[in-house]
């Protein structure tokens, strides 16, 4: 792997292809600082994550990237792709066309989009992406996915010596780094370390430490502050369903056949983000997490103007109520400043969970 860094933003970016080209994929996460220059180019009613990324680009914070790969994830991301290309001028720019559906036609079309992405990398960086290199990358990323899932599974019945926030922070670190054998080794070592220090948790009634288990789901969270806040308010977060945590790693790519078709199938059939058409599958996945991780309540987190996630919440809330799972919608602006105001609501929610009788729980 050479030292050419390629930035990526959306969880639907096939890191495998960048890795197979011998380039370093780097996840671009915002710093949550107030927007300074981006509002000149993007409307202030647009996703704050997207505006934060552009702002950082305008301030030269992405200068070490030789290119950026965008995905046609949402209206805001498409407009970021335009503005970034025009005003930040990365050396290489590519937008992957991601379908919203996942039937055979869509998989076939997406496989061709991925091939065209690979060809553009080959042209731009004068490299060759052989099928065998791609298969090798697929194997490495599949291993990362399995290891991360194991990390989360450790928390099903155990307390770890580190907090949920620390574990989330670590997951974001693993997610952001280029996927290599050495990263997988680092994750394995971390997993062993955690395994040695876990303590059995009691889920028969309230947890041993009286903290209710909370699932944090929703759109992008890059910093662990929200998780810290949940813990500060008296909750325990054994799992998050976010594009910066477990959801990103769910589902492996088939390690045989045409690699582009296998990649297309995995990305279109993985646990869906709200931008995909499949709210029923999303709900099914949430219910499986609720069951597996003994969840008492769900926090649905959105950042302002993230329409796709905003539209899903009312229906998910109704469906969760059918299973007697209370939920709370929190909205932030991707800045650290917005979190403080949430503490009171979080504390009230956790108090509600604590007051529920054990038989009221799932």
């Amino acid at each position: 792997m050479n030292n050419i860094k390629i930035g990526w933003l959306c969880s639907y970016t096939p890191e495998e292809i960048i890795t197979a080209a011998g380039l370093k994929p780097v996840r671009m996460l915002g710093n949550g600082l107030p927007i300074q220059d981006a509002d000149t180019f993007l409307h202030s009613n647009l996703c704050p994550y997207v505006r934060n990324i552009l702002d950082m680009g305008l301030q030269g914070e992405w200068n070490d990237l030789q290119g950026v790969v965008f995905v046609n994830s949402c209206d805001a991301m498409r407009r970021l792709s335009d503005a970034y290309r025009k005003y930040v001028k990365p050396g290489y720019h590519h937008l992957i066309d991601l379908p919203k559906i996942n039937d055979d036609l869509a998989i076939d079309y997406f496989a061709r989009s991925l091939k065209s992405f690979a060809s553009s990398l080959e042209r731009e960086f004068n490299v060759r992406i052989e099928d065998e290199n791609l298969l090798e990358s697929i194997k490495i990323l599949n291993k990362t996915r399995r290891l991360i899932r194991e990390l989360y599974l450790l928390r099903v019945n155990n307390d770890c010596h580190i907090s949920s926030a620390e574990l989330f922070h670590k997951t974001v670190h693993f997610l952001s780094e280029p996927k290599t054998d050495s990263l997988n080794y680092e994750i394995s070592q971390f997993r062993h370390e955690l395994e040695r220090s876990t303590v059995k948790r009691n889920h028969s009634k309230l947890s041993a430490d009286k903290r209710p288990n909370i699932l944090v789901t929703g759109c992008i969270i890059s910093q662990p502050e929200l998780i810290e806040l949940v813990e500060e308010a008296g909750g325990y977060v054994p799992v998050e369903d976010l594009c910066t945590s477990l959801r990103h790693f769910e589902g492996c790519v088939k390690e045989e056949g045409d690699p582009y078709s296998s990649l297309a199938e995995r990305y279109l059939k993985r646990v869906p983000c709200a931008r995909m058409q499949n709210i029923r599958l999303k709900l099914k996945y949430l219910l499986s997490l609720i069951h597996d991780f003994h969840i008492d309540g769900v926090i649905y987190y959105t950042i302002k103007f993230c329409d796709q996630f905003l539209y899903d919440f009312p229906l998910l809330k109704i469906e969760l109520e059918k299973f007697n799972i209370p939920s709370l919608h929190l909205q932030g602006d991707y800045s650290l400043g917005s979190l403080g105001q949430m503490l009171t609501r979080l504390a009230a929610f956790i108090e509600l969970l604590n007051e529920r009788k054990p038989e009221q729980r799932l």
């Binding site: 000149t40 180019f41 993007l42 409307h43 009613n45 647009l46 996703c47 046609n72 949402c74 209206d75 805001a76 498409r78 407009r79 792709s81 335009d82 503005a83 290309r85 025009k86 937008l95 066309d97 379908p99 919203k100 559906i101 036609l105 869509a106 079309y109 061709r112 989009s113 709200a274 931008r275 058409q277 709210i279 029923r280 302002k304 103007f305 329409d307 796709q308 905003l310 539209y311 899903d312 919440f313 009312p314 229906l315 809330k317 919608h329 909205q331």
Partner: protein, 414 residues
């Protein structure tokens, strides 16, 4: 409030709604008799369509008529119903805040598009016809397919989503064309209705004839003073989407063309100092914007970017490919440069002196490109005004502020 309550009562009860629709049909028929202009003819046709939606035994397909081809929907004998257009009509009746509140009360965020939220609210208040099936596409924004998915769950009906890529190439056209063909089988399976191929070819042929008239109408609109300006052209062409592919749409456009031609031939007398291009939706409630522009400054909106949506002839020997091409070729898809290029071409062709862009609250795909749009016009010395408003929610319209901004903008032309 009193008026709003009466409307609420009328729309949410079957009998009163039916009586109201009959009254509207009669009213527009009478109006058409006394003044047979194309606008009255369109209102009469659309009022009849809305009455049909609620007629016993009617077969309604919820669809985005500017996206999923009505030529296909009509070929099943299905009536295409568009919740976004209906949201606009509801706002025009003064019930916008009622349906928006209905959605907000059910947890739908006020940050999202009012037309979409209005559709949810109206559906849940029982104002809208029940669908037999729902079909839409991914263009142009994220909110629309999302609302379809949610409401398909609410109504318990199948939703077919056609995925339209953001690239304009042969593979994208082929991908969409195959999805459109597949949608025929899926609609047949879900509704038990048969697709009538002969009718389909007639509808395609009608669309081409209508397009021929619309192209000629566009030529007439380039005349100064413009014979069909302001919100009138927009309010004609938007409801017209509901009738695409029908013989009625051809007749309406033919009559409009003849009327505009007569108007020009007889010499349009009104004064026109400034010609403007409008981008983004028009507000669907009463505003003073157009009368101020027209009367105070003799400024005319001679062109609206949305009036040019999908006006592309279909190859009658390969209709699915042609329909796919119509979807894929939209300038609202792909990079913002596509939209800029199209707008600059309109400015040139229509001899516009300036541009007004409406950033409709919640419309990320249009407001998202604002910076680049502004820059493109100003770089070429074309005055550009952005209005942050809401096409649906009147409570987000501040007449004083908008008036001041328009006045300052108009000063640039003095």
């Amino acid at each position: 409030m009193m008026k709003e309550n009466i409307w609420q009562y009328i729309l949410s009860h079957k009998t009163t709604r039916w009586l109201m629709l009959n009254l509207y049909v009669k009213r527009y028929k009478k109006r058409l008799k006394s003044n047979s202009n194309p606008r009255n003819a369109l209102l009469y046709e659309v009022s009849k369509l809305y009455r049909k939606y609620f007629s016993p035994g009617s077969k309604v397909a919820w669809t985005s008529v500017y996206a999923y081809p009505p030529e296909i929907t009509y070929s099943f004998g299905l009536l295409p119903f568009d919740f976004e257009i209906t949201s606009g009509i509801i706002a025009g009746l003064g019930l916008g805040s009622r349906v928006l509140d209905a959605a907000t009360d059910r947890g739908y965020s006020t940050d999202t598009c009012g037309f979409h939220r209005g559709g949810i609210g109206a559906a849940m208040e029982g104002y809208l016809p029940r669908p037999l099936i729902m079909v839409s596409t991914t263009n142009f924004c994220d909110g629309k397919p999302k609302v379809y998915e949610l409401l398909s769950s609410y109504y318990g009906r199948e939703f077919i989503l056609i995925d339209v890529p953001h690239k304009r190439d042969v593979s994208a056209v082929d991908y969409v064309s195959r999805q459109l063909e597949n949608s025929i089988l899926r609609i047949e399976r879900a509704t038990g209705l048969k697709f009538n191929e002969r009718k389909f070819h007639d509808h395609i042929s009608n669309f081409n004839k209508m397009t021929g008239y619309l192209e000629r109408i566009d030529e007439l609109k380039k005349h100064s003073p413009c014979p069909f300006e302001g919100d009138r052209a927009y309010r004609f062409q938007f409801p017209l989407f509901l009738l695409w592919g029908t013989g009625t749409s051809v007749k309406l456009c033919e009559n409009l063309y003849n009327e505009l031609k007569r108007k020009i031939d007889s010499g349009v007398s009104s004064r026109e100092n400034i010609r403007l291009l409008w981008m983004g939706v028009f507000p669907n409630y009463k505003t003073e914007i157009f009368t101020t522009l027209r009367k105070k400054y003799h400024a005319r909106i001679v062109c609206h970017e949305y009036c040019h949506m999908g006006i592309e002839r279909i190859d009658e020997d390969d209709p699915f490919n042609g329909l796919a091409r119509r979807l894929v070729n939209s300038w609202l898809l792909g990079p913002v440069e596509n939209r800029i290029e199209h707008a600059l071409q309109l400015v040139k062709e229509y001899g516009c002196h300036g541009v007004i862009h409406h950033s409709h609250w919640g419309c990320r795909h249009t407001m998202g490109g604002l910076g680049s749009l502004r820059e493109a016009f100003l770089d070429r010395g074309i005055p550009f005004l952005n209005l942050d408003m809401d096409g649906m929610d009147e409570s987000n319209y501040f007449p004083g502020q908008v008036k001041t901004r328009i006045e300052s903008f108009m000063e640039m032309f003095q």
